[in-house]
């Protein structure tokens, strides 16, 4: 039983071209949206919107073009751990810059 499940999991999943077409065109649409959004007057939210759209686009690419959605648990765990480590390092660096008493020495 376990063997069978493992076999099924390691069975190679082929993503259909239809999904690639949907993903490709939604990426192009999101590119248009991010350009449009950058010309709006949203104050601080311009940066938030730009980054949010970029993160959504990157996630779509990772999940579908890079097949992570259909990959083994090992691949999923690897990608997740990598991103977690990356965000931790960036977060700690930024925390250092934010929390220093700039200008008082």
């Amino acid at each position: 039983m376990t063997d069978q499940r493992e076999m099924e999991e390691s069975q190679h999943h082929v993503v259909s071209p239809l999904i690639y077409i949907i993903v490709g065109s939604s990426l192009l649409v999101l590119t248009g949206v991010t350009v449009w959004a950058s010309f709006q007057e949203w104050g601080n939210f311009n940066a938030v919107a730009a980054l949010a759209i970029a993160v959504v686009k990157a996630m779509i690419v990772v999940l579908f073009f890079m097949h992570v959605k259909y990959s083994s648990k090992l691949t999923k765990l690897t990608v997740f751990c990598g991103l977690f480590t990356f965000l931790t390092l960036v977060g700690m660096t930024l925390a250092d810059y934010i929390s220093r008493a700039w200008g008082s020495w």
Partner: protein, 251 residues
């Protein structure tokens, strides 16, 4: 003594099963071999994430420090070229994904076509980037190589350039800090372009191999892992584009 006997007896049972020629002997089966290669590719991509991540962090911190100068400097970039390049790169990612599909479906001519399209779109991206770099060189906006503060403080000092771009003059301290922006701009887009050049070189190699039928006989690992690399380079640009071109466009 007894151990070596066991090994000697066990080997023939395992060693001479029928298997595809591309299966290396230290792997149990082709699925395990493909999994191992994919895992290794992801580990490599994670080192790349850390590499570009450092540059993005530097950009973030300097942008906070010299915010007005970064806004002014980012207005020097051409959104039309940037958007066009993003579209070109996303389309090349799409053709690459279709290439992986063709390899898996064993469609040789489809694979060759997809690889050639990806190759051409990759060159198109670099072509547009060259146009943009050329403008920066003409305007003396390349730190450490071809940089003049005067071009920011007094854009009218070069009448030909001024006629074309009509840049407004900047205060001296702000003009000096635009140098930080352009340093980061050239390092980040330059490293990205280097990855594109390496990718295009590998694509050229793959087109020849694909024409010989190398990837359409069941062994798709190389195409698949190159696809991962190409999509990763696409993701880097997906973040570079809004951060460098768009983020302060409304001001």
């Amino acid at each position: 003594m007894s151990d070596s006997t066991v090994v000697a007896h066990a080997a023939p049972e395992h060693g001479h099963e029928e298997h595809p020629a591309y299966l290396r002997h230290h792997f149990e089966n082709t699925a395990q071999q493909a999994d191992a290669a994919g895992f290794a590719m992801w580990l490599f991509l994670l080192t790349e994430v850390m590499f570009f991540g450092g540059l993005f962090t530097a950009y973030l911190i300097y942008r906070n420090w010299y915010y007005p100068a970064f806004v002014e400097a980012s207005h020097q970039l051409n959104v039309v070229w940037g958007t066009l390049n993003t579209a070109v790169l996303i389309t090349s990612s799409f053709t690459m994904a279709m290439g992986v599909w063709c390899a898996e479906m064993r469609k040789q001519s489809g694979l060759v076509l997809c690889l050639i399209l990806t190759f051409i779109l990759g060159l198109g991206f670099l072509g547009i980037k060259t146009v943009e770099y050329k403008e920066k060189i003409e305007k003396h906006h390349v730190p450490g190589f071809h940089y003049s503060l005067k071009s920011f403080v007094d854009p009218q000092s070069d009448p030909e350039i001024y006629k074309e771009y009509h840049d407004k003059p900047l205060a001296l301290d702000m003009a000096r800090h635009t140098e930080v922006y352009f340093s980061l701009y050239f390092v980040m887009t330059g490293m990205h372009a280097l990855h594109m050049i390496i990718g295009i070189a590998i694509l050229g190699f793959m087109i020849f191999r694909a024409r010989a039928g190398a990837y359409t006989a069941g062994h798709v690992t190389f195409v698949e892992n190159f696809g991962l690399y190409w999509h990763f380079v696409d993701i880097v640009w997906i973040f570079l584009f809004p951060l460098l071109y768009l983020i302060s466009r409304h001001q």
